[in-house]
């Protein structure tokens, strides 16, 4: 018994170590004052953060990530929520199973395959090298996260609540606006956060459909690591991680406060 306990602890610690070690290795380098991305660090400075905001390519890529991330979040959240509303309560039919699977396909299809297809198709509609094109591409892979999150919440809503609203005189669209959507809000919010995070993180599709003007932060990191290994990458990674942690925190907080909002 003791041995089992001990091995559990050791294994857990090892897993955590391997997850965190790369972060621990890269993050301090964001504060190096050397021009090389390696240890030992000769001194500390914030020059690489200044570089991120002052150097045109980096600043541009951050702005692009925000533009594309916001667009993707809006589009994916709207479409995914509508999709989840449509799929809800139809668990028994084959059509449901098929459509539901179709919604989730982008999660499992290799991004390279999607990317090739999109590049061909976008070329035909003049969408390559446009913001809209990148947003559409990111939306395709972000929608499943929204669908899953919203569907989970919708399925936990007691249908009697909507029936009660109807019996009290609410037309179907009012039931949706006043009962269903408010109750689904936690799922919609977490779906939106996932969509944003997905867009922020996405490289492969971006490589296929984005032009030089739509370089996102992730894409920029990817290319600069091949071209010149500058500590700006570490600084970008630092911004990235802090941003992600902030989003996760925001998500947790919003879940809590949505759970028990004070009476309006």
């Amino acid at each position: 018994m003791k041995a089992l306990q001990l091995s559990k602890v050791v294994f857990g610690a090892a897993a955590v170590f391997f997850l965190l070690a790369p972060l621990a290795a890269i993050l301090p380098l964001a504060f190096t004052d050397s021009v090389f991305l390696n240890y030992p660090m000769p001194g500390y400075s914030t020059r690489w953060f200044s570089e991120l905001v002052s150097a045109e390519v980096w600043r541009r890529s951050i702005v692009n990530s925000l533009i594309i991330g916001s667009g993707t979040t809006l589009l994916a959240t709207a479409l995914g929520t509508l999709g989840a509303l449509g799929l809800r309560g139809r668990t028994s039919s084959y059509l449901f199973a098929f459509v539901r699977t179709a919604f989730l396909i982008p999660m499992v299809v290799p991004a390279v395959v999607l990317g090739v297809g999109m590049q061909l198709m976008f070329a035909r509609y003049n969408l390559t090298n446009t913001y809209l094109g990148v947003i559409i591409a990111h939306t395709v892979i972000a929608v499943p996260f929204v669908v899953i999150n919203v569907l989970a919440v919708l399925q936990s809503i007691d249908p009697r609540l909507e029936q009660a609203a109807a019996s009290l005189g609410a037309a179907p669209h009012t039931v949706l606006a006043r009962v269903t959507l408010p109750l689904a809000l936690p799922g919609i919010v977490s779906g939106a956060v996932f969509a944003f995070a997905t867009s922020l993180d996405e490289v492969v599709l971006t490589l296929f459909v984005a032009g030089p003007n739509q370089r996102t932060l992730a894409r920029q990191m990817f290319s600069s690591i091949r071209e010149n290994i500058s500590p700006a990458i570490a600084a970008a990674a630092f911004v990235f991680i802090v941003g992600t942690i902030l989003i996760a925190l925001a998500l947790n907080l919003s879940r809590k406060s949505l759970g028990r909002r004070p009476a309006a």
């Binding site: 009697r160 009660a164 609410a170 037309a171 408010p182 109750l183 909002r261 009476a263």
Partner: protein, 355 residues
């Protein structure tokens, strides 16, 4: 019942192969209080849901106020519904919940506030207006659901076991309140309950359901005193059920042989003929301890158990293999387990049910 206001005409409802409501014919008068009583799964909720518009009958039609309501969506039916599980909106305060139907009807803000306040006072929850449903006890939630279904003064109120979660005292208080509202506002109420006492005390008429069919419908006294079937006799209150064969009819009485060489006299005239097999229902409170006067039925047996019920004692008597329940007055002479006892009941207290 005056003229029919709600009419079910041969309404059936099936889920797949399971027929839940089977050819229901039911007329409910305006301002009437009808209870639906029946075991779990007998289709009571399904009937309410069809009336409210959430389920469509598989066949048959439902009319309200002379108008066929099939195809009329729930939000245009103007019926207050109290759901079995309350169905309060968790994201709204108590006051917002109750104000919801008024908001839907575009009642002015000032009037809404006024009416919500009155509704809250009616259910004695004025002090909890700003709470969320999750912060209320089951009984308080039930009262909010009630207030919400009544605040817009619908003509018809459907209640699905609205008092199930309340303790006895509050339950009785709410029963009185609902009856008072029913009288004062002239509401037509369809009330589903598991509780036979509740049905007996509150209703103008009771419909007893079994397997999606009405076993019997009538005024409470008729249902209790003259049950049509053994099911009704045993479902409403406690009863002693005896089966036997009619051996003779004459002089206004029929003699029924209940086995072991014992026979009881019952009132004739219920279509009784010699040789027929019949069931007899005798309520425990109609059975008296001690031999009765001439022509009454006297049975003797051994006391098996005496159960204390506060206001009365329930005596379980074994009369040669036939168990008889007797509701005994506590003031009477003491009865102990093992005693031999004579009990009696008059012929007219013995209701022939048909076997």
């Amino acid at each position: 019942m005056n003229e029919s206001f709600i009419r079910f005409d041969k309404v059936s409802k099936a889920f797949g192969t399971l027929t839940v409501v089977d050819g229901l014919d039911l007329d409910i008068g305006k301002g009437e209080f009808v209870s639906m009583l029946g075991p779990s799964g007998s289709g009571k909720t399904t009937i309410l849901m069809m009336l409210a518009g959430f389920e469509n009958p598989t066949s048959g039609t439902i009319r309200v106020g002379g108008r066929q309501v099939d195809g009329l969506p729930p939000h245009r039916r103007n019926m207050g519904v109290v759901f079995q599980n309350y169905a309060l909106f968790p994201h709204m305060s108590v006051a917002e919940n109750i104000g919801f139907p008024l908001k839907m009807r575009r009642v002015s803000r000032a009037e809404t506030g006024e009416r919500v306040k009155r509704a809250l006072d009616m259910v004695q929850l004025g002090h909890l207006a700003e709470r969320r449903p999750a912060q209320l006890s089951g009984g308080q939630q039930q009262r909010v659901a009630l207030a919400r279904a009544l605040v817009f003064e619908p003509e018809v109120v459907l209640m699905d076991e609205p008092l199930g979660a309340l303790d006895k005292k509050l339950r009785e208080q709410m029963q009185l309140d609902i009856r008072e509202l029913h009288r004062r506002l002239g509401l037509t109420i369809v009330f589903v309950t598991h509780d036979q006492t509740e049905a007996l005390t509150m209703s103008d008429r009771i419909a007893v359901f079994n397997h999606g069919k009405i076993e019997q419908i009538g005024e409470p006294a008729a249902i209790y005193d003259r049950p049509a079937t053994r099911f009704v006799a045993e479902f409403i209150g406690e009863t002693n059920f005896l089966t036997g064969t009619v051996t003779g009819v004459g002089g206004g009485h029929a003699t029924v042989d209940i086995g072991n060489g014992r026979s009881v006299a019952v009132l004739a005239g219920q279509g009784l003929a010699a040789g027929a097999t019949v069931g007899l229902s005798v309520r425990p409170e109609r059975v008296r301890i001690g031999a009765g006067p001439a022509r009454s039925n006297t049975v003797s047996g051994t006391v098996e158990d005496v159960v204390y019920h506060g206001d009365h004692l329930q005596v379980v008597l074994d009369a040669d293999g036939q168990t008889l329940l007797v509701k005994a007055d506590r003031a009477g002479s003491p009865v102990a387990i093992g005693d031999r006892l004579d009990v009696s009941f008059a012929p007219d207290e013995c209701w022939v049910v048909g076997s």
